[in-house]
């Protein structure tokens, strides 16, 4: 910082005119971004807060109703059902993805594993393809008359109903697809984390006679804790915003059993056009995500583990 000050003094004589010019230059550089952020980010953000205090309907009028939307929300069984659905989704997807991703990272970080790059690429592949488009394939795969999932399960003696038409099986199907999409992505972050652990620590543990399991528990787990927290938090944030595969596979059905908060915002806002009410739901969603994001920021800045 001191150096930056000194440099500025060297190149820019310390006159008011020059300082003003420098400030002008900086803001000209930032003008396009700030304009876009202002018009399409901050203004809508404030507008959403205002909308949530009105009974705005896209085709009707708009009247200020104070906190009535939020009060209605608390008494709305739909909201609670969808909040529970969202937590169910996040509560399964996150731990399963994190554990699977860690297991895969350990497997594919093995020294001398042939074809390591190919395996990593294959497992990472779902992260680069469109979630909506791949969910179409999943929707067909879960459909009994065309997909093989029900058929193959029946072959080995497991009889399941039509997944996407069943109140109890639709959510697990959507969850499986959610895990499929992200596990490779989290695996790659874990591999990067594993590679930051100094090899000396494992060697020291080996010399002390630690078994492979002991080395995993006493070296890998503690030194990877920051990465694990980071992955857990970004997975929770992504889970709270689940939408794509649900829209494609079930549209929130059957009987709203897979409707999450974002799908509820979509339905209330763009199908029922209750945009004031939908904005209130969106603000609740934002509050949940912001709380998690603050955690994320903490772990992001501390990702370089001190040994």
């Amino acid at each position: 910082m001191a150096r930056q000050k000194l440099r500025s003094r060297l190149w820019y004589p310390w006159s008011t005119r020059m300082r003003r010019r420098r400030t002008l230059t900086a803001y000209l550089f930032m003008l396009p971004s700030l304009a876009v952020l202002g018009v399409f980010m901050f203004y809508p953000l404030i507008r959403a807060g205002w909308l949530s205090l009105t009974n705005y309907s896209f085709f009707g009028g708009s009247r200020f109703i104070g906190l009535l939307n939020y009060r209605n929300l608390i008494h709305d069984p739909q909201f609670w059902r969808d909040l529970v659905n969202t937590l169910y989704y996040a509560g399964v997807v996150t731990p399963v993805s994190v554990i699977l991703a860690l297991a895969l990272a350990l497997l594919l970080n093995r020294k001398g594993l042939p074809g390591r790059g190919i395996f990593r690429a294959a497992i990472f592949l779902p992260a680069v393809v469109s979630f909506a488009v791949s969910a179409i394939a999943f929707r067909f795969m879960f459909t009994p008359s065309i997909g093989f999932i029900t058929y193959w399960l029946a072959q080995i003696g497991i009889n399941v109903p039509d997944w996407l038409d069943s109140v109890s099986f639709a959510m697990p199907a959507v969850i499986l697809v959610g895990i499929w999409k992200n596990v490779g992505f989290y695996m790659v972050i874990f591999i990067a984390g594993l590679q930051t652990i100094p090899k000396e620590l494992y060697e020291a543990a080996s010399i002390d006679g630690a078994t492979r399991w002991r080395r995993f528990v006493n070296v890998t787990i503690p030194l990877l804790s920051n990465t694990t927290m980071f992955v857990t938090v970004i997975s929770l944030i992504a889970s709270l915003q689940a939408f794509d595969q649900i829209y494609v596979m079930t549209q929130g059905g059957p009987a709203f059993s897979t409707e999450t908060l974002v799908t509820l915002v979509y339905r209330q806002g763009f199908q029922n056009f209750q945009m004031g009410y939908a904005s209130a739901i969106a603000y609740v969603l934002m509050a949940l995500v912001l709380i998690l994001s603050l955690f994320q920021l903490r772990f992001f800045s501390r990702r370089t583990v001190k040994y």
């Binding site: 952020l37 953000l45 959403a48 592949l125 488009v133 060697e203 794509d244 990702r303």
Partner: protein, 297 residues
Amino acid sequence: MAVTLSESTSRGRLARQPSSTKRRDAPSRFGTAWAVVMATVASLVIVLPLIWMIATSFKPEGAIVTSHPSLFSSKLILSNYSGAWSAIDMPRLLLNSTIFAGGATVLSLTFDSLTAYALARLDFPGKNVVFVLVLITLMLPFQVNLIPLFIELTNFHWINTYQGLILPRATNAFGIFFLRQFFLSIPNELEDAARVDGAGDLRIYRSVMLRLAAPAVLTLGLFHFMYNWNDLLWPLIISSNSSMYTLASGLALFTGQHVIEYGLVMAGATMAIAPMVIAFLLIQRRFVESIATSGIR
């Protein structure tokens, strides 16, 4: 992060000794074989849906709708592709996705890097305020803005237009943050040398910063392109006219309406994911590395 990563690995490599510990650490042949089996199974399970998608796109409808669904059919046809080309209007979807993702990427890279330059290399009042605003934007779920944005763009008469689709994506808080970190790491000496030669800020931005950051800018561009190409919710809301649908929204809506033509839809889906899959396979190493170090998707 990238620096710490390489430092610690090289430190580890230097310290590794060919001593008795090596024997204990050396992977056993049985263990390796077991690991290969596990990795093969995991990879196949993950790739299976995509393989099924591609395989189905070459099957006649009769082989798709059957009481004994199998992965591959004995009869392969290409007519699903020509069918998708006309029935789903794939050329239009491909064009729209390319304009949307390409336009958003080019604008966002330009705007992000300009802002990142100011935040990283210039000194001005209000700098911290701007940076905090960027960080806040980074944390907001974009669904919050969906409804007011829709109303705003309706008032602009920008629904079903490319500018309506692209401009709200013309800057990206993560891009600004990512490039700022990169520009901060560029040594002052290079900038000083350029200033001695009489270069202004715009020239330093272009010929020093952007040139040195070219790999980072390219990686970021790839992320921007992928993010927009794959996005569903935003194009779904901003276009109500089939001539403005992107691949993701167009295929999702087509599937909702015509569930009978499975082969057609799978052919369309294969064409929709092909560009990303090919791009990924071509530059996978850098792709995976930069994701690992930055933690973005």
